[in-house]
């Protein structure tokens, strides 16, 4: 009976499309990789690094919201855990290799994700949102009160720059380190995250998360251990968000508990939503959009909260899960259709 691949004509089409997308992706990657050397613009490079760190975090976040269908208001917990892990691993444990530090940060964030995942596994919708919020807020209080003496409270801790495979690269001047080296590390991390998640979310695992999002009862009645997969989803998400936080920690150079606060969670949600939680690339676009918008608003008005609030309000009411990326895609499709008709 399995003679059927050809009848699904769109497989062939999808293949070509994918290749074109792949091509576009490679072009974007190369342009980004060359950008600092070509422009020597430190501000732009820093801004891009900043955006890319949050793009990773927003993509990680969207595993839970966009794919598993659960709104978490506590992802600052994972972002902050990633950040503090970097500081503590470098400062207290003495591991200074970039790759090792990042891997440890992901593992620790994943552990926090497992704990929060298990505790929240039976809640839905707003209860899930409020429970994740409360749990993250507990972590925030822990950091603010400096319980355990690790975080130095609201003044925060400075981060030194990690080395790279034993090369004492941290001794380079700041500009060269951040622009020449670190920018590319973050770029590669983002590319790797995109490729990895692209496959993971299209795999049977990704389909299983979507099953849970669409209909938890049905998924369970199809033999899926729903609770377990919700925890998996949280762990994966936490690891990716933690990576984003860890990368960001080195860039910002100084960490305060603000990164664990619920308003930080709100920003991550905002980014994903702005770009489009129903799309794969939406969160990346959203992180860029959010940070550029904020920088722009800040440069023109002291009332930038208002601007951001208005944008959030409008995006929620008009674009919904499509976000600006989904909206743009629809627009392009429509234009193509019209061209096709003519």
């Amino acid at each position: 009976m399995s003679t059927r691949l050809p009848t699904f004509g769109n497989v062939g089409l999808a293949e070509t499309l994918q290749n074109r997308r792949l091509l576009a992706g490679i072009v974007v990657f190369v342009v980004l990789a060359l950008y600092p050397a070509m422009t020597l613009n430190a501000y732009h490079t820093r801004l891009l690094t900043w955006i890319m760190c949050f793009a990773i975090a927003a993509m990680g976040f969207n595993i839970v919201l966009g794919y598993t269908g659960l709104l978490s208001f506590g992802h600052a917990a994972f972002f902050g855990t990633g950040m503090y892990t970097v500081v503590l691993v470098m400062g207290r444990v003495g591991i200074t290799d970039l790759v090792a530090v990042m891997v440890i940060a992901m593992v620790v964030s994943g552990l926090v994700g497992a704990i929060i995942g298990v505790l929240t596994v039976k809640t839905h919708e707003i209860y899930f949102a409020l429970l994740t919020l409360a749990l993250a807020q507990l972590l925030y209080i822990l950091a603010v009160r400096d319980i355990g003496g690790l975080t130095r409270g609201t003044d925060g801790i400075g981060v030194t720059r990690p080395d790279f495979f034993g090369i004492p690269i941290s001794e380079l001047p700041a500009q060269i380190y951040l622009l020449g080296f670190y920018y590319h590390v973050v770029l590669v991390a983002l590319a790797a995250t995109i490729v990895l998640l692209w496959f993971v979310l299209r795999s049977p695992f990704g389909l299983t998360l979507k099953m849970i999002r669409e209909n938890e009862t049905r998924a369970e009645m199809t033999g899926v251990p729903v609770l377990r997969y919700r925890v998996y989803s949280m762990i994966l998400s936490a690891m990716v968000v933690g990576l984003g936080g860890a990368l960001y920690a080195v860039l910002i150079g100084h960490i305060t508990p603000e990164y664990l606060d619920w308003t930080m969670s709100g920003e991550i949600v905002f980014m994903a939503l702005l770009g489009g939680i129903g799309t794969f690339f939406g969160p990346v676009v959203g992180a860029g959009g959010f940070i550029l918008l904020q920088e722009l608003a800040l440069s023109y008005t002291e009332y930038w909260h208002f601007t951001m609030g208005l944008v959030l309000f409008i995006v929620v009411l008009t674009l919904r899960e499509n976000g600006i990326w989904g909206g743009a895609k629809t627009l392009v499709e429509r234009l193509n259709d019209r061209r096709g008709e003519q």
């Binding site: 020597l40 430190a42 409270g153 609201t154 003044d155 400075g158 500009q175 060269i176 622009l179 020449g180």
Partner: protein
């Protein structure tokens, strides 16, 4: 708020860094032949300052005063022709600390990149300065820090050569308070209340450690840490009142002090305590917002003598500053205003000093170097820089309704002055080590 997006210029500073030019640091710079690094004559364009302060959030209390004082003083300096009488100052940009550390650091980067700003100025939050100062230094962007007190600034980043701080560290307030207590009789029990972040914890720790050395007979029976920006202190008030301590020590500042004191008065707290030492940055605006609620058994003060009544009659400069400020803004200057005054004075002196040594307008590096180890005249006497860090004295006063100023709120009087040498660690000694070894006077 970044009002100016200046045209992008060639990438000068970054390129210099990229090509690995190492910058000569510190005072050594001034002694050498600096021929090619100096700019001939005084530049035509104004000296451009980007000011960093809170325009939003609870600490905007200081931001507003600092902004007011800076606007006023810059106008005055420019009326005389500017720095050295030749080069005007222009505030080209203001960054809101309320936007958070991410934005601050990124904006500092942009400013350094554009090369259209000569110096960063002010800043309030200790958490922010610990992040922004190293970032500015990495960019070789001159940064004159005027307000935050964290002693960790230079102890954590000893290499910074583009940053100076014209405010005394929080040690001067805490140790000043210890010196006050040292002279008091009839004190056996103390309760401390400080905001729950490093500022408060640092103050409490220094106070407790030093007090143990100079007055081992006194017990700190309880230490409380309300949240920064707390709006309801009634639970703390009840708890402290129940202890009936001989002394209450507090580093709460700004609006927090106002709220705490007024709720304390409400709960009868100051009838239950012998003396209160309020060392958070408290000045005239605080007394104004409290109206008639200020109890009499408190000492107000801390680092530097930043009270409009302190040596008002003796010090002409001070009198003029206070009167001008009052004429312009209808209230008396608070600590935020004084801090930025000290900063601008140091800048003026630094420019003069650099020019007198090298004969030319200084580069950013030279200017910062010239501001090291300088001293300027402030109401409390010589305000001395030890290296990049100011050593300020401690001054405390009593609130009084009995004054000749045209306002109906209390001001301070009966001042106690404690010299800078008594309340600051000697150059090169880490603050906490010094505090642990402190001896009775």
């Amino acid at each position: 708020m970044r009002k100016s997006r200046l045209s992008r210029r060639t990438y000068l500073k970054g390129a210099a860094a990229l090509s690995g030019v190492s910058m000569t640091a510190g005072c050594a710079l001034l002694d050498e032949d600096l021929g090619q690094e100096t700019i001939e004559g005084i530049p035509d364009e104004p000296f451009r300052i980007a000011q960093i302060l809170f325009e939003s959030g609870p600490a905007a209390f200081y931001g507003e005063q600092a902004m007011n004082a800076t606007d006023m003083l810059v106008d005055q300096i420019n009326a005389e022709g500017g720095l050295l009488g030749e080069r005007e100052i222009e505030i080209v940009d203001r960054l809101d600390e309320g936007a958070g550390l991410d934005s601050l650091i990124s904006d500092v980067q942009a400013i350094a990149q554009e090369g259209e700003v000569d110096m960063l100025f002010s800043i309030i939050s200790s958490a922010h300065v610990l992040g922004v100062a190293p970032a500015a230094n990495d960019q070789q962007m001159p940064f004159l820090v005027t307000m935050p007190g964290t002693y960790q600034l230079f102890e954590e980043n000893p290499e910074m050569d583009h940053v100076v701080r014209t405010a005394g560290s929080n040690a001067s307030g805490a140790i000043g308070a210890v010196r006050m207590v040292e002279q008091m009789d009839d004190i056996e029990t103390v309760v401390t209340i400080d905001p729950d972040y490093a500022w408060g914890h640092d103050h409490q720790e220094m106070f407790e450690t030093a007090l143990e050395n100079v007055r081992p007979d006194i017990d700190i029976v309880e230490s409380r840490y309300p949240d920064l920006g707390e709006t309801d202190y009634s639970a703390h008030v009840s708890a402290i009142a129940s202890q009936e301590p001989d002394l209450l020590f507090s580093s709460l500042w700004g609006g927090d002090t106002a709220t705490f004191v007024s709720q304390g008065v409400d709960g009868g707290l100051f009838d239950q305590v012998g003396e209160a030492l309020l060392i958070g940055d408290t000045g005239a605006p605080l007394l104004r917002s409290l109206g008639g609620d200020m109890p009499e058994n408190v000492w107000l003060g801390g680092r530097a003598g930043y009270q409009p009544t302190y040596r008002y009659d003796e010090d002409e400069d001070h009198q003029q500053f206070v009167d001008d400020y009052y004429d312009r803004y209808g209230e008396y200057p608070g600590w935020g205003a004084y801090h930025d005054w000290a900063g601008l004075k140091t800048l003026q002196e630094g420019v003069e000093r650099a020019v007198s040594i090298i004969g030319d307008w200084p580069t950013g590096d030279q200017l910062m170097a010239a501001m090291n180890d300088i001293s300027v005249e402030m109401p409390h006497g010589q305000h001395t820089m030890r290296g990049p860090q100011a050593a300020a004295p401690a001054v405390f006063g009593r609130p009084t309704e009995d004054h000749d100023f045209p306002v109906d709120h209390p001001l301070t009087t009966d001042f106690e002055f404690i010299a800078a040498t008594e309340v600051n660690p000697p150059t090169g000694v880490p603050t906490m080590e010094w505090v642990e070894e402190i001896e009775p006077l």
